[in-house]
Structure formats: structure tokens, C-alpha cells
Symmetry: C2
Subunit: 343 residues, 2 copies
């Protein structure tokens, strides 16, 4: 089994390595179960940053030199082939070789997903990895999976999303038996599309392995009727991004309206706490990113524009996944559902 | 050509025929170009309601008796077969027979879509009708199509959605050359799924017929980058419903937060206007529902829970579509894009 260590692609992302080092520092309280944190990137940049952050002599931190960086707009497969000494490729190889059990990166999403799949490889019995996101609901958070790894999913992929999402919800939301719902466009059976209808049949046969609650509609998405919502990567990606777009629009329009006239401006000051409280309830920042689930190692994608706090959250979640040995349970569950479906 | 008249399924919906009659009354200012408004339903119920509303002797109103009502939860095809004397079936037949050029109903959506397709029939060259919705954006409204009629769309259906949506946006939003965007999960070409990639190719070849602006992502959905967004009916339906769910959640959470403590309560009163103004900007009520586009007559679905104001808006939009002879332009455009694609 791989060491309980985490490789960090220290060069990826919009904010640069100094923000990543600050995020590493903020996460220090969560390192109890960690054996090693490996910062991968240009040592001429990283060592001085670590020194400034007073982390240079921390026994749990190691720097692995990598001379190249994959840019945010490079093409996934080409970037991986061309930049073999990039921080991302080197970090992926640490996981592949068992020197680290997971990687965290805020770099190029496509490169990380392709690199994770090609280098770390899917778990036995899993065809396609899936990207999971934690979303805010009325009474707490839920997991949406897949949010973009696999835009054309087969029913078996959707079933695996349910297994992967359940395990992720268990570890990251602390729910022992997460309830799973399948996203569709009308809860009457037969109203979705072929993939949904077939997935629904398969999921119904898995009671006991997965806590399947049935079909759910878009209306119910934020009502916490279930803890895990499964869908294909196209629908999930559109949902994730459009929800963020809608949230930002409402926030901005309301802000504009609140600044119209003196009375509203004063009222805005008096109600500021309400907005702050709502924003912190709905902000996904405390989950710091999205894991690519279904691989032989942990691959954790933090947002490209992550600040130090998001990076610290990402490290915390990644360490939770490593610490709980989630992969062991996923392997058992995948084996079990694949056997039920075959028979 | 059919008469410029509108058939109204006066028995469908959650609020009952009295609310529909009140909606009819509120819409009276929009009747200039209308030849006849045919209220279809139980005459023993409708005539007294019309009398109370002082519409009994209006020369533009006619009642057509129908003894049955299709319930909101009945199965589409079965309900149409079983209840031949229902208000919805009778109203659909008025359009089929050319006695009315359109139907408005707040009844069972599935029955109306199936009934519209079976009885009124698609326009020549259109395989699948599409449901369109007007959605609020930062700087105005946009049309999303398909929001649920056709959950498994082929590329040609998506192209037709662009034609149908453009014509609807032209009439209902008053935009002469609506810009069209294709919803995907990453604006780099090749990142979507097969249907999206093939649709993108086809749409690019139609410049001049359609104002195609290219791919758009979920993030941009509410930014009014385009006036018409096309997608398959599964994605569109999930988007429409989840946006409503998210909007309601934000509204409710904020309301709760605003009631915490005396200072916030006073602030809430002072900022009430900001909320009212934002809600009215974002409310889809003034479009009163969604048309099923691509048929030989106008089929307009109002929300099941429509109140009199929504019904009046629905009638206004339906009359706009009839008045502008939108179908004539749609026929020309469909013919033109089908010819380009064939060659």
C-alpha cells in the first residue's frame, strides 16, 4: 500500500506557487496522519518560499524538483506528452510509483483528468473515473457526480458514479449511509432518456450496497432529498457551472438594487450579516475542489483560481480521503455491484 | 389559413376554471387582432363564471362544451385515448380542424405535448417539436430550447431548436436577429459530447439563416452572451427546474437570515424594495408559460399552478405568436436549413 503522503503540484493554478505554499502552511493542523507532503515544482522558487513561510525545515515536507509547468490552456494529452518534467506529470508519477497516495493540483483540469486516468489508472472494475463536486443545499451539502469527466456515460458508469459518490459523501460529509438519487426530467418511470431508464433499473437492484432512493427532478436538487445525486458528466458540468452563474447573478443584481437610494443603503448595512451568513452557507470553498474518483490513487482538483484558504481546504479533504482509506471500501463496493449486475 | 383565434383549455390546471376566466378577462386589452377566443370545458361551469366576469355577451368569446377533464397525473397517451370529450382533446381538435390557430392549456404537460404532436402534427421538415422557455439573465431575457419535449435529441433536432428558438425570440423578445449559442461543457471544440460536436458543425454552416455565435458554457448561461440557447430536452429540463430550485432556495435562506434579530428585521423593511425589484426582474411570470414549437399550430403550455396574471400573460404571448404569423417564417427557415444540410 502507498505511503500516507500527498503530492502537491506546486506550480499549477492562477495564483502561483506562493499562494500554494501559504495554503500548505494553513493546513498544518490537519497533518496528524500524514507521513509526507511532497511539493513538486521548481526548487529555485519553492525553497525560498518555504523558507519565508518557516516551513523549510519541517520534517514532513519534501521538495521534488520539476523544471516545467503545464499552462492552463494547453491541450491535455499533448501537454502531458510534451512536458514530461512538469510539476503535474512528476506529481502524478509519485502516485503511480506508490511514493504518494494522492495528488492535489489547481492546474489544467483536462491535463489532470487525462493524466490521472492514464498514469494512475482506474480501479479494477471501473471503466471511467468521475469528477465529484460538493454542492450547497437548504439543509446541508450534497455530492453531485459526475461533473465533467465523462460526458457520454453508459448506465454502468452511472452506477459506478453512485458507488464513488456514496463513498466520497461518507468520508467528506460524514454520512454513514448516504442516500442516492438519479437525476432525471420527470419522476414518472420511463420519462428520462434511455441511459437514465436503464441506470434506474440497475440501481434498484443494488439495495443494500447502495442506499438508492430513486429518481429526482431538477426542482428537488437543492432540497437535500438525497445526499448524492448521480448523472452523466455533461449534465453535471452544465448544472455545476450554471448554478454558480445563477448564484453570482442574483448576488450582483441584489447588490445593485441595495445601492439604490439612501434608505436602501442604510438597510444594506443593517442586513449585511444576513448576506455574509448566507454566502458562507452556500460557498463551496470549504471543500476546496473536486476529486477525480475511481482511480488507484487520490486525484484532487482544486479550482484554478484557488486562494490559500481553498488550497488548505483542498488539502484537508484530500488528507481525509487518504486517512480513511476510502479506496479500500470503493474496491469492495465496485466488486460487489459488478457481481450483482453480471448475475 | 386558420382563423386568428385561440382555443383555451378552460378546465386544466391546479387553480380551476374560475381563475382561467379571470385571466381571460385580464387579457382583454390584447384582443385587437383576435377573431375569437374559444373557451373549451363544461358549459354548466363556464357560462355562470363568464356571466359573473361580465364576459357572457362578449362577441369574441365562444364556449365549446366538453364533458371530461384530463387530470394532472394521468398518463399522456392513455388520457388522450380515454378522454375524447375532454377539454384538452376538444381544444386540440379545434386547432387540428383549423377553427383555431392555437391552444393554451395549464393542464397535464405530457398530455398536451403528446396531443399537440399527434393531433396538430409537426411542420413539414421538423421531426420533433421542442418546448421553449424564457429565462431571466443579467441584462434581459433569453430563450432556452428544448426544455423537455425531446430528451434524446439528434444533431438535426438541435439545429431545428435553433430555428424555432430564434423565431420565438424574435416575436416574444422583439430581437430582430437573435444570437444563438449551443450549450456545452467546455468551449474548446471537441470537449462536449458527440451530439453537441456534430450540432456545432451543422450550425456553423448555417450563417445567414441563423445568427450562430458558437459554443457557450454553463458559467455564461445568465450573462446574455446570446439570446437563444439550444440544448437537448434532458439538459434543458434539468437546467430550467434546477434554476428555479436554486432561486427559491436563495430567496428562502435570505428571508430566514433577514429575520434574525431586530436590526436585521428593520434593515429588511428598508431594503424590501430591492428584493421586490429583483424578484420582478427575475420572475418568468410575464411570459406565462412555454410554447411547444415546431407544430402546424400554436401550442402554449402555461404552468399548472398559473394564477390569473400568468394566464393573462400566456394569452398575450400566444396572441403575439398568432398575430405575427410566426409559423410562416418558421416554415421558410426550416426549409432553408434542411436544404443547406442536405447539400
Amino acid at each position: 500500500m502507498a505511503k500516507k503522503s500527498l503530492a502537491i503540484d506546486a506550480m499549477g493554478g492562477d495564483m502561483g506557487p506562493s499562494e500554494i505554499v501559504e495554503g500548505v502552511k494553513l493546513s498544518i493542523d490537519n497533518w496528524q496522519s500524514l507521513e509526507e507532503l511532497i511539493l513538486v515544482g521548481d526548487e529555485n522558487i519553492l525553497n525560498p518560499l518555504l523558507k519565508t513561510a518557516k516551513l523549510r525545515n519541517n520534517p514532513k515536507i519534501r521538495v521534488l524538483h520539476a523544471s516545467e509547468v503545464i499552462g492552463m490552456d494547453e491541450k491535455p494529452i499533448q501537454s502531458l506528452k510534451k512536458k514530461k518534467d512538469s510539476s503535474m506529470v512528476r506529481a502524478l508519477e509519485l502516485v503511480k510509483d506508490g511514493e504518494a497516495s494522492g495528488i492535489l493540483s489547481c492546474g489544467n483540469t483536462g491535463s489532470l483528468m487525462a493524466g490521472g486516468t492514464i498514469k494512475i489508472r482506474p480501479l479494477e472494475g471501473v471503466d471511467r473515473p468521475a469528477l465529484a463536486a460538493v454542492m450547497p443545499g437548504r439543509d446541508g451539502h450534497f455530492v453531485l457526480v459526475d461533473v465533467g469527466a465523462n460526458p457520454t456515460s453508459e448506465p454502468l458508469n452511472i452506477v459506478h458514479n453512485a458507488v464513488l459518490g456514496s463513498n466520497y459523501a461518507r468520508v467528506t460529509l460524514g454520512i454513514e449511509k448516504p442516500r442516492v438519487g438519479l437525476l432525471t426530467i420527470g419522476i414518472e418511470e420511463g420519462k428520462g432518456n434511455e441511459v437514465v431508464n436503464e441506470s434506474h433499473k440497475l440501481l434498484k437492484g443494488l439495495q443494500g450496497t447502495i442506499q438508492y432512493e430513486g429518481l429526482i427532478e431538477g426542482f428537488q436538487l437543492f432540497d437535500n432529498a438525497v445526499d448524492v445525486i448521480v448523472c452523466d458528466g455533461f449534465v453535471g458540468n452544465v448544472l455545476l457551472k450554471s448554478s454558480e452563474g445563477l448564484f453570482n447573478m442574483i448576488k450582483d443584481l441584489l447588490k445593485e438594487e441595495m445601492m439604490q437610494g439612501m434608505v436602501r443603503k442604510v438597510g444594506a448595512v443593517m442586513t449585511k450579516g444576513a448576506f455574509t451568513s448566507m454566502k458562507s452557507k452556500l460557498s463551496p470553498e470549504r471543500f476546496g475542489g473536486a476529486p477525480l474518483l475511481g482511480l488507484k490513487g487520490h486525484v484532487f482538483k482544486a479550482h484554478g483560481s484557488s486562494n490559500r484558504h481553498s488550497i488548505a481546504s483542498g488539502i484537508r479533504v484530500a488528507l481525509d480521503l487518504i486517512h480513511c482509506e476510502m479506496l479500500e471500501q470503493v474496491k469492495l463496493d465496485i466488486k460487489s455491484v459488478n457481481e450483482i449486475i453480471k448475475n
